[in-house]
Amino acid sequence: MNIESLRYYEQELRKINLENMYIEESIPLLTKVDIYQESSIERELYKIIHEGEALALRADFSMALVDKVVRKNIEFPYRAAYYGEIYRLDKVNQWQVGVELLGESSIAGEREMLKVIKKYIGIFPQEEYIPCINYMPFIDLIIIKLNLTSKEVKLFKSNLVKHNYVKIKEVMKDKLSYETFNLMWSLFNERNINKALDLIEQLFPSEKFSSEIFALLKELSADYYFDIGLVKNLNYYTGLVFEVYAKGSPQAIITGGRYDNLAKQFGQNISAIGFAVDMSWLGGYLCKS
């Protein structure tokens, strides 16, 4: 891997963070195990016991950062940036650069994130980029419509993460009328944001959706693809979620979204939105080129 080139890109991304007023936070390599307890990555931690305290190698920047910030006396909105590696069992270490906007609950948070993502992509090699988007409350509505038990909800979400269309289709066929099933299945296959929103309105006619979110999604329809199956493995996401794919990378190069529930596990009510770029794809890309 061409480390020099990677460092160059890392520096450029950090410059973008700084230009956009994101302050770099230093996140320790060893973090308390407790901060990951509510999340699905708890089983993927490298754990050690030090002087009777359970510690883990940093496995997620957002959780570690929110844990740090909630204990500070700071003014919101607060813009934080980070870079470095995260470590998870059985996974290749991920080298990430990212930002978090804390305490901004309005749609301005989403707009700001999407602007920064555009700037990030602007410095990457000229490749084909496919940005995808979803809105987590749509998933909540689907789950309500399916009338699932809490055990089934867990399974359904895990099948969504894996895009296990075999199981998803099976559950939907079992729980919905023929007409509703067809509408919902169309939603799973729809990539155009405007058409997907039409389907959402047909599926949930009495639901009052945020007009701001709908307006933003419609604005994004020229650049972003809709994917109702875009559901994060981490259970703290609450609003808009997004991923960017690049030709030549086997995984998403940028992932993020709104996660207003994360700070609650640390006893605070702070809205948050953020994203990270996975630098490892860039390493692979530079190697090939």
């Binding site: 690049a246 086997p250 998403a252």
Partner: protein, 201 residues
């Protein structure tokens, strides 16, 4: 249109998988010893069944055909789009003489662990790479967990199926990035397989 790279499992499932994407004469491809073939709009790579999800997860192949047993055991980050309705069999527990499960010999350690967890069994699970049916006869374990297709191998080794764990079939799996980048081609492949499944061609 972009060319899709498809990982095919070598061995007994190869021909059946090829028939799903076939639009012409299969004989040449089925008998080919070449591990990389170009066929219509596909680039086909032939790999060991257990490696199919590895190739797909890492994006070397856009998609692949793999048994559900391998998917469950390996837990790779791939999308599972379709049950291809081929390679049907099931996972089962078998014993020489019906009795309590004291230990399990299997290739599927993770599936066995999940089974034990779900049934509150605290027993030894012994990992084997083949000839699992031998384990009870030589006293390695009193139970095996393995794929059962016709049941002939079990009978030949004086074993009796005591519990059906789950049905298995071949699944179409897709790389996460390919799902977004080559969506049109993947949708076409899904439609083609569904069309074949229904017996239209």
């Amino acid at each position: 249109m972009q060319k899709l790279t498809i990982a095919l499992p070598s061995g007994r499932l190869k021909e059946e998988c090829l028939s799903l994407i076939n639009q012409g004469n299969l004989a040449e491809l089925t008998n080919s010893r070449k591990l990389l073939n170009f066929y219509d709009e596909y680039r086909l790579i032939e790999v060991k069944p257990i490696d199919v999800p590895v190739y797909v997860e890492n994006g070397v192949a856009d998609c692949g055909f793999v048994g559900k047993d391998i998917l469950l055991e390996s837990n790779h980050e791939v999308y599972e789009l379709l049950d291809c309705q081929i390679g049907k069999c099931h996972l089962a527990l078998a014993q020489a003489e019906r009795g309590d499960i004291e230990s399990i010999a299997t290739k599927y350690v993770n599936i066995a662990k999940d089974y034990c967890l779900g049934n509150n069994l605290h027993i030894d699970i012994i990992k084997l790479n083949g000839s699992v049916e031998l384990a009870p006869a030589v006293g390695l374990a009193n139970t095996i967990l393995d794929i059962v297709s016709t049941g002939n191998t079990l009978r030949a080794n004086n074993l009796e199926e005591i519990e059906r764990i789950m049905d298995i079939s071949v699944r179409l799996i897709v790389n996460k990035a390919s799902f977004q980048i080559k969506r049109e081609e993947i949708d076409d492949l899904v439609k083609l397989i569904e069309y074949k499944e229904k017996g239209y061609a």
